[in-house]
């Protein structure tokens, strides 16, 4: 194998800088007293204070947590079961395509499809319709993470358990679940992160009322008015939460980034 090359390593360093400098700039600016992006005028946490006093943002954050919690709960159960079924049954291309589609379908298309669907059914829109919609892509992601773990799963353990007289539920609870738990936890954390960050589908399926505004919808509205120090502070918090969740997910399940 060729030697490691200095040039390649430098390129990798540049790529990492490209990925992290924009985020680092936001985080630094969020502590800038004057709030201007141009000059450093001293350290201050006043923009975080401004966020804490903003009822709209807090309300939107609360809505986001509700949506993320319920869509993750649905997706974790259905996605894990789906992964178990698919890995044992090995169904055909149609099932594989259905499970892969939510990850690649442009979100604007899924958003308008769900809006058309809910409208055709005269389904009242609100947080519940966002939950239902977010569960769609979350199921796919949880299933994908759990499946990656099941690929090295020793199914004979399940057979032994059944042969020794344990019922299917006991076998699942005592054998299968403990073995796949890291992947289930990782999948749930990723699903939660995806839901917290998702904007377009939520925007289309939220309905008109202000009661179902989520945090990304609030961020979008603020960004459209321009660059402000409050957004920098909020961005720092949201990024911090995402990074933490994903790192915990990665620690729980080391194979998370296997494709």
């Amino acid at each position: 194998m060729p030697e490691r090359s200095r040039l390649l390593d430098m390129h990798l360093g540049a790529v990492l800088a490209f990925l992290y400098v924009p985020i680092a700039v936001l985080m630094v600016l969020s502590f800038n007293r004057a709030g201007l992006p141009t000059a450093w005028t001293g350290f201050s946490v006043k923009w975080y204070g401004a966020l804490a006093g903003n009822g709209r943002i807090l309300g939107a954050a609360w809505n986001t947590l509700i949506v993320a919690f319920f869509s993750t709960a649905i997706a974790t159960v259905l996605g894990t079961l789906l992964a178990l079924g698919v890995e044992q049954k090995k169904p055909g291309a149609a099932v594989e395509a259905t499970m892969f589609a939510p990850m690649i379908i442009p979100d604007i298309v899924l958003a308008i499809a769900l809006l058309s669907f809910f409208t055709a059914l005269d389904f009242t829109l609100g947080l519940h319709s966002i939950i239902v919609s977010h569960a769609v892509f979350n199921i796919a992601f949880v299933a994908a993470v759990v499946r990656a773990r099941l690929r090295n799963f020793d199914w004979s353990l399940v057979e032994v358990s059944r042969d020794l007289g344990a019922g299917p539920v006991t076998t699942f609870r005592r054998i299968t679940l403990p073995l796949i738990a890291p992947a289930v936890v990782a999948g749930a954390l990723l699903a939660f992160t995806l839901s917290v960050d998702e904007f377009i589908i939520a925007y289309f399926t939220a309905g008109a009322g202000p009661g179902s505004t989520t945090l990304p919808m609030q961020i979008y509205a603020m960004i459209r008015f321009g660059v402000t120090p409050e957004i920098n502070a909020m961005a720092t918090i949201v990024m911090g939460v995402s990074f933490t969740l994903v790192l915990v997910a990665q620690r729980a399940n080391r194979r998370l980034f296997d494709v």
């Binding site: 985020i23 199921i139 990723l190 979008y220």
Partner: protein, 286 residues
């Protein structure tokens, strides 16, 4: 028989959810594409192909071609930047590889709006890049970096580069090292070995990364909206307008239909490439 019932019990709820809230809604959109627009923004259920002929009109065809061009640029740049980065990771000591991969992927899992907004902060007229360039005297007047094609392509590359690195890295992992060793032993140089062995055998990873970036770029809404500043219209924005502004749902449905058709064709192409390289050893998967 019992096993089959159990498998379907396991898969049923998840597949049912996806069928009801993804397949059926998408089928509904496809059906709506063949109806007329109602007078007050609804849908009149009279069959027509007019939405598709309208999509082929020069105004809209230009938007399609423009979106494809921007998506293609983003894809090409992401591959050119991502391949060497993935290659560099795969040459690191084994323990460091995973840490680097996590580092590359971490931004990918964070808020897309905020990642895009970060570039608004960097690229605007009073932004950091302009300040730095005028500060060192490289330019007299701030450059118009934001609200143009450059900004949109930069944003797309920034957001999707991590996935390209991941896809190519995993293809490099699957590469049998004895093949490149044999090539070197037989006297081929590093570049020849790369061009004749490594590159063709990692084609599935390149294809997976390319399809991903292209599909998500061509249908993108947020990046052209925020970094293009409304001056750049791409298909995603056009679809958005049909639903929320123009209230022409059937036309928006037809545009979505075309977008999905493009996506399916690309995924099929990718599966063919993956199948060709992996041969009989493993089934083609996306």
């Amino acid at each position: 028989m019992r096993v089959r019932v159990r498998d379907w019990l396991l898969m049923g709820p998840g597949l049912g959810w996806l069928a009801l809230f993804m397949v059926v809604p998408c089928a509904l959109v496809f059906a709506n594409a063949f109806f007329e627009r109602g007078t007050y923004g609804g849908i009149d259920y009279n069959f027509t192909l007019e939405n598709f002929t309208r999509a082929a009109e020069p105004v809209y065809a230009t938007i399609f071609l423009g979106s494809a061009r921007i998506a293609l640029m983003a894809t090409a740049i992401a591959l050119l930047v991502g391949y060497p980065a993935a290659f560099a990771i795969s040459r690191q000591p084994a323990r460091r590889q995973m840490a680097l991969l996590v580092l590359v992927m971490l931004p990918f899992w964070s808020n897309y709006l905020i990642r895009t907004y970060a570039w608004m902060v960097l690229l605007n007229r009073e932004g950091l890049i302009n300040k730095a360039l005028t500060g060192i005297g490289a330019i007299a007047e701030p450059l118009a970096l934001l609200y143009n094609e450059f900004a949109v392509v930069t944003g797309l590359v920034y957001n999707y580069l991590p996935f390209v690195v991941l896809a190519i890295y995993s293809a490099l992992q699957r590469l049998d090292p004895s093949l490149t060793e044999a090539s070197r032993d037989l006297g081929a140089g590093a570049w020849t070995t790369f061009a004749r062995i490594t590159l063709p055998l990692t084609a599935p990873g390149i294809a997976a990364g390319a399809v991903f970036v292209f599909v998500l770029s061509i249908g993108n809404f947020i990046t052209p909206d925020l970094l293009g500043g409304g001056r750049m219209q791409m298909i995603g924005n056009l679809i958005y307008d049909q639903f929320l502004t123009a209230r022409d749902w059937p036309f928006g449905a037809a545009l979505s239909f075309i977008l999905i058709a493009i996506m399916m064709a690309l995924l099929f192409g990718q599966a063919v490439i993956a199948g060709r390289v992996h041969g009989q050893r493993e089934p083609a998967h996306a």
